[in-house]
């Protein structure tokens, strides 16, 4: 495959960026999108140019490191992570636009790499449980109803990649935060911090400069792990409940 790439290049956080055009040839349909970028970078290095910086780690779709907006879609046209996106999703001769996540809470570090530590700070403010130390408790010590376990697991699938924020026209982190809140709030292990968790995580989310939710649904469409849009309503319910409880 022969492709034309238009890639966002930005020297550092302060420098102005711009789209740069590159031609790549000899791309296999079986390559992942990141392998295609590796090919481009090898050519750039051989030509003495600066390679394109992009985040990647496991390349198995489970770590949440890769973060590219491809042709306007977070993680590209398939509902998966960029590393699991294959070049067979494109046609020979295509022009592909590659941009970084866009949100003021995710400042660009270099080229396609953004700083997602705002997510870490949201997690730090409430994404934990109180557990006694010592030997591990028996697996059946705390019964969890199956529907609750399923609900928790559905939300535990969130890998924190930030595609929800990238896709949201408001740069909102509501889907991410709701995944984390719902995951722990439904479980008996998460009950001691049930109220403070949702209040603190939403407050941190606001402080980090993420936008609000206008329920456009772009986040849930972009999410590679299929966190559903009603998760946001579930978190709103928890937030309202916590607000009433804490006042009392």
């Amino acid at each position: 495959m022969k492709l034309t790439l238009r890639v966002w290049r930005q020297q550092n956080a302060e420098a102005p960026g711009a789209m740069a055009t590159y031609e790549v040839d000899g791309i296999s349909r079986d390559m992942s999108f990141l392998e295609m970028l590796d090919t481009l970078n090898e050519e750039l290095i051989l030509a003495g140019d600066e390679p394109v910086a992009f985040d990647h780690d496991c390349r198995e779709g489970i770590c949440g490191a890769c973060s590219l907006v491809i042709n306007g879609d977070a993680h590209g046209p398939e509902r998966t992570t960029t590393c699991q996106l294959h070049m067979r999703s494109f046609q020979d001769g295509d022009t592909i636009d590659v941009e970084p996540w866009r949100a003021s809470a995710f400042p660009v570090v270099k080229d396609l790499v953004v700083d997602r530590s705002a997510f870490d700070r949201i997690i730090q403010s409430g994404g934990y449980i109180s557990a006694p130390t010592g030997t591990a408790p028996d697996a059946h010590a705390t019964p969890v109803p199956k529907p609750d376990a399923d609900f928790a697991f559905e939300h535990a699938e969130c890998i924190g990649c930030g595609a929800c924020v990238a896709a949201c026209p408001n740069g909102s982190a509501m889907l991410f935060t709701s995944a984390k809140v719902n995951h722990l709030n439904v479980l008996p292990q998460g009950t001691p911090e049930r109220e403070t968790r949702v209040l603190d995580m939403v407050a941190t989310m606001d402080d980090e400069g993420f936008g609000g939710c206008t329920l456009t649904g772009e986040c849930a469409t972009a999410c590679p792990k299929g966190i559903p849009l009603p998760s946001i309503a579930a978190m709103n319910k928890e937030w309202l409940r916590a607000t009433r409880k804490v006042r009392r």
Binding site: C168, G209, G212
Partner: protein
């Protein structure tokens, strides 16, 4: 870290949802009241008069109406200020646009902000036209709403302004009702279809109900 509703983005959305639902409840009552115009001037004008005497003898003349007005003004102001502040926050959170963009969210979703502005401007015109009579076409007669309504919808601009605003209202309600349900935590996966259907139904019934009045005047059914 407890915060008031006003300090949190989720809290401010709650204020928007509740104030929006108050206005929606009013719209339903207003639309049903408007339909009385099809029973002739006697019944319509008597209904308008009742709005001033409702609650009698507990309430003094027009106290009930003023009570409703105060609640509505509070709802409009809270809704508008919250919307403005949340929109500012949203725009600030996403300063850089993507080079590669495509239209996504539904038309109703994308037009919430400007649709809301249109509605706010319409409310001002609507009150000046049919409550105070300041910008009314022809002689405004206090206590004769039937004739005033016919006068307004006998002008082309009266019809255009009204119908555009009603269509904007329908779109606003369609996304707004469903969104309010999500904000208040009522929405979930199993209820989603019911809530969406209810939102569409409310939007359709309100739009048709309101539009029926200018259409009836234009076609001569009401004159």
């Amino acid at each position: 870290m407890t915060r008031t509703l006003w300090d949190s983005s989720v809290g401010k959305k709650t204020i928007m949802a509740v104030s929006g639902l108050i206005m929606l409840g009013y719209l339903v009552a207003h639309m049903v009241g408007n339909l009385k115009i099809f029973f002739g001037p006697g019944e319509f004008d008597r209904y308008a008069h009742w709005l001033r005497t409702m609650g009698d003898p507990v309430l003094h003349y027009s106290w009930g109406l003023w009570l409703v007005r105060v609640v509505l003004v509070a709802a409009v102001v809270l809704h508008g200020v919250s919307a403005y502040q949340l929109s500012r926050r949203d725009i600030k959170a996403r300063p850089a646009k993507y080079v590669h963009t495509k239209p996504r969210a539904s038309y109703a979703t994308r037009t919430m902000r400007w649709g809301g502005v249109i509605l706010a401007l319409f409310i001002v015109w609507h009150i000046l036209d049919l409550t105070t009579g300041t910008v009314h076409s022809g002689g405004f007669q206090e206590g004769h709403p039937y004739q005033n309504v016919v006068d307004t919808f006998s002008t082309w601009y009266g019809n255009v302004i009204y119908i555009v605003a009603v269509l904007a209202m329908g779109l606003h309600v369609q996304h707004g009702f469903w969104s309010a349900a999500q904000t208040l935590g009522v929405g979930n996966a199993t209820r989603d279809r019911v809530l969406k259907t209810l939102a569409n139904l409310l939007a359709a019934v309100l739009t048709l109900g309101f539009v029926s009045v200018p259409v009836a005047v234009m076609t001569g059914v009401v004159s």
